[in-house]
């Protein structure tokens, strides 16, 4: 396992050129010649910069490059129903500095180096085998939601640093689930980033769709028990910087889970359209809406049939979370 031991200081040094080149080169450019000093007159660009609607593309204050997080956004393909097939995943806990907002770094505990961790996917009846190695500096576990024996629950089998444990059980029931570390202090282990999405496909395959995974994340970078930044699948404003391209002709299916710590609830709101929301996704029951509310651990499946092409915003319908990073766009094309 790659074991990154990046000290805070070294990271700062590495980040310095990037930070220096930021934070608003683009805005400064657009504001033009008179931007440098006081007494500047208001230009159209300055006006635009005051609303989040304008924070799209390169104007969005998000870290990272394009496609960097595709492995978290696009789940592995669903496989057909074949009871007893073995689905293996290797997951390692790794301590790592990650950039959670433009120019801001967080000492995270991660599964496989990212927050959230990798998407684990199986079909109902598959024998799921998750080999877990603790490459971090604290005892960790993986607690997967779903139906499984007590000794596979990731609560009592604490995995010490350097040790390993294999979770093995038949995957069921189908639906959108999640996994997270269950070591104590629980709040700390989740807030540090040890969680991810766990999809179990039904025996009867779901209709073809453009599938996406969205794990709602929050980061408390100064340790005061309140999140400083929010996002989808990690960094603040990432999908505002890189809108998600989808086709209007095909259903968009989002596997949604809320794993933000500290805040009682989080939510998902889509602009300009409605969607079917299947709570937990284990039954056919759905709600037709444009806003859903989730407490920590709550999750479900969203299916959108876009009526129009264009740019549609999606965000938490808690304005505070929206303005602290939990906001993105769909680019709907024909």
């Amino acid at each position: 396992m790659p074991k990154h031991r990046v000290t805070r200081r070294r990271l700062l040094a590495a980040a310095a050129p990037v930070v220096a080149a930021t934070p608003f080169a683009k805005l400064a450019l657009a504001a033009g010649d008179h931007a440098e000093h006081a007494g500047m007159s208001m230009t159209a660009m300055d006006h635009a910069a005051m609303g989040h609607a304008a924070m799209i593309g390169s104007d969005a204050l998000a870290p990272g490059g394009p496609h960097e997080r595709d492995a978290l956004l696009y789940p592995p393909a669903a496989l057909g129903h074949r009871p007893g097939r073995v689905r293996e995943y290797a997951v390692a806990a790794v301590d790592r500095q990650i950039e959670v907002a433009k120019g801001v770094f967080f000492s995270a505990w991660t599964y496989n180096g990212t927050v959230p961790g990798p998407v684990i996917r199986a079909t109902e009846g598959d024998l799921l085998r998750v080999r877990f190695t603790n490459g971090g500096s604290h005892p960790h576990t993986i607690h997967l939601h779903g139906i499984h024996p007590a000794d596979m629950d990731g609560v009592f089998e604490i995995v010490e640093p350097g040790a390993s444990f294999t979770y093995e059980f038949p995957a069921r029931p189908h639906g959108m689930h999640l996994y997270h570390c269950h070591s104590t202090p629980l709040k700390k282990h989740i807030a540090k980033g040890l969680y991810g999405a766990f999809i179990i496909d039904p025996p009867e395959p779901r209709p073809e769709a453009q599938e996406l995974v969205m794990v709602l994340t929050g980061f408390d970078t100064d340790g005061d028990g309140e999140n400083n930044f929010y996002g989808v699948n990690g960094p603040a404003f990432y999908y505002a910087k890189y809108p998600i391209r989808v086709r209007r002709s095909q259903t968009v299916r989002i596997y949604l889970a809320n794993l933000t710590e500290f805040d009682l609830i989080n939510s998902f709101h889509l602009h300009g359209d409605f969607f079917r929301y299947y709570p937990t996704g284990s039954t056919d029951h759905y709600e037709y809406t444009d806003t859903v509310m989730l407490c920590q651990g709550q999750r479900g499946i969203i299916e959108i049939d876009f009526a129009h092409t264009g740019r549609f915003m999606f965000h938490a319908h808690q304005s505070e979370f929206t303005e602290l990073g939990w906001m993105g766009f769909f680019e709907v094309v024909d």
């Binding site: 930070v19 608003f24 300055d46 924070m55 120019g103 770094f105 970078t221 602290l324």
Partner: protein, 404 residues
């Protein structure tokens, strides 16, 4: 040739001695170099340093049409980089006047385009690259005016009203003072000493309060000591020179117009700090700038004019230009202070100015004491002097109530 070589021979040992004097410094440099190259392993023996606090020092938040300007300083030894900026818990785009990664005690201004609402409270937050957020609450957003001819004139008028005018009015007590008998004159001198003592304490309090808010790297208390010592000793030097030229006698106490000049200088330094405090408060929108405030300062400061007039009363005639000059020395620094405070806002300068005022006021108190001890009937312990001194403090306290 002979002389040259003799001089060279003489200079030889001298040079050697000088080199010898450099030895401790060279050894120190060597030791430091060895420690720096191996020091971290040495420190590991006794523990581990905690990570830096990574908090910014936010000195000033200004509201301009369509933008908010946040002045941040790095108060710590380690480099500190600006990551994100929030206004009322919302991440906002910004640009920088200055570097984004700040060395020790370096500053930058964060400019946030923003439609702020007049009189609303705002909380701005600056998050370091290490994720630590420093926030600064503004109780009510008020537009801060930049340097403009209007502002320049405005601060000058305020300085004029709280500085020069009351001092000049106080000087008008001169004819009445001239008719007072020696005991009462001594009493007024003591009153002057009392009010100057009050000003010294007042300035010391301001300086201590201001320095507490400074990043520790600026060593505010040391700065205060420096300011007090510099102004006290500086004025002592000036007083000695003045008395030596006037009476060919080094240790004689100053009197008459010369003593009045010294008092005016001391009061002037105090008014410099006072002007700075007023200017800063206005610029930051912290001051309920009312007529009552200005009137209060005028009543408070008229006593300063009395203090300058008293020593003149016992001396020879002094012309109107000379009196005008004294009023300017004592009062004009209030204008300069208001300009500096209004347009620059530096707590560091504030600390220094107030410290200078402390030293100056104390030196003048000592000078007056020497004068009274020698010239006044009954010396320092007469009832007129003791009563006058206490009255000076009471007068300042009572008129100060108008300002506070």
């Amino acid at each position: 040739m002979e002389a040259g070589s003799a001089a060279g021979w003489n200079r030889g040992p001298l040079r050697a001695w000088r080199l010898w004097a450099l030895m401790p410094i060279l050894l120190l440099v060597g030791t430091v170099a060895v420690f720096v190259s191996t020091g971290s392993s040495l420190l590991d023996l006794v523990g581990r340093a905690p990570p830096p606090r990574d908090e910014f020092d936010i000195r000033r938040v200004e509201f301009k049409p369509g933008e908010i300007r946040i002045r941040v300083t790095n108060p710590q030894r380690e480099e500190l980089a600006i990551g994100t900026v929030t206004v009322d818990d919302a991440i906002v785009p910004f640009r920088l006047d200055g570097p984004s990664s700040l060395g020790r005690l370096r500053s930058s201004t964060i400019v946030v385009p923003y439609h702020w609402v007049e009189d609303d409270p705002y909380t701005v937050g600056v998050t370091s690259s290490s994720g630590i957020e420093t926030s600064f609450a503004v109780p009510a957003a008020v537009e801060s005016r930049g340097a403009s001819p209007r502002g320049f004139l405005g601060y000058a008028l305020i300085g004029l009203l709280v500085g020069i005018v009351p001092v000049a009015l106080g000087l008008a007590w001169l004819p009445s003072l001239r008719r007072a008998d020696a005991r009462w004159l001594a009493s007024f001198m003591a009153l002057t000493a009392g009010l100057l003592t009050f000003l010294a304490f007042d300035a010391l309090g301001e300086a201590l309060q201001l320095q507490a808010a400074l990043p520790s790297g600026f060593q505010g208390t040391g700065l205060i000591l420096l300011g007090v010592a510099a102004s006290y000793l500086g004025l002592t030097f000036v007083a000695q020179r003045a008395s030596a030229t006037a009476r060919q006698e080094r240790s004689a106490p100053l009197e008459g117009a010369a003593l009045a000049g010294l008092i005016a200088a001391g009061i002037g330094l105090h008014n410099l700090g006072e002007g700075l405090a007023i200017g800063t408060s206005i610029a930051l929108g912290e001051l309920a700038l009312g007529t009552f405030f200005i009137v209060g300062f005028m009543v408070h400061n008229i006593t300063e004019g009395l203090g300058i007039a008293t020593p003149i009363a016992s001396g020879g005639r002094v012309g109107l230009p000379r009196l005008g000059a004294l009023a300017l020395i004592a009062g004009a620094p209030a204008i300069v202070g208001a300009w500096i405070g209004g347009f620059i806002t530096s707590d560091l300068l504030g600390v220094l100015f107030f410290a200078l005022a402390v030293g100056a006021a104390l030196q003048v108190v000592v000078e007056i004491g020497r004068y009274v001890a020698r010239k006044a009937p009954g010396g320092l312990s007469s009832g007129h002097v003791v009563g006058g001194y206490l009255a000076g403090i009471v007068v300042m306290y009572a008129t100060g109530l108008l300002v506070g």
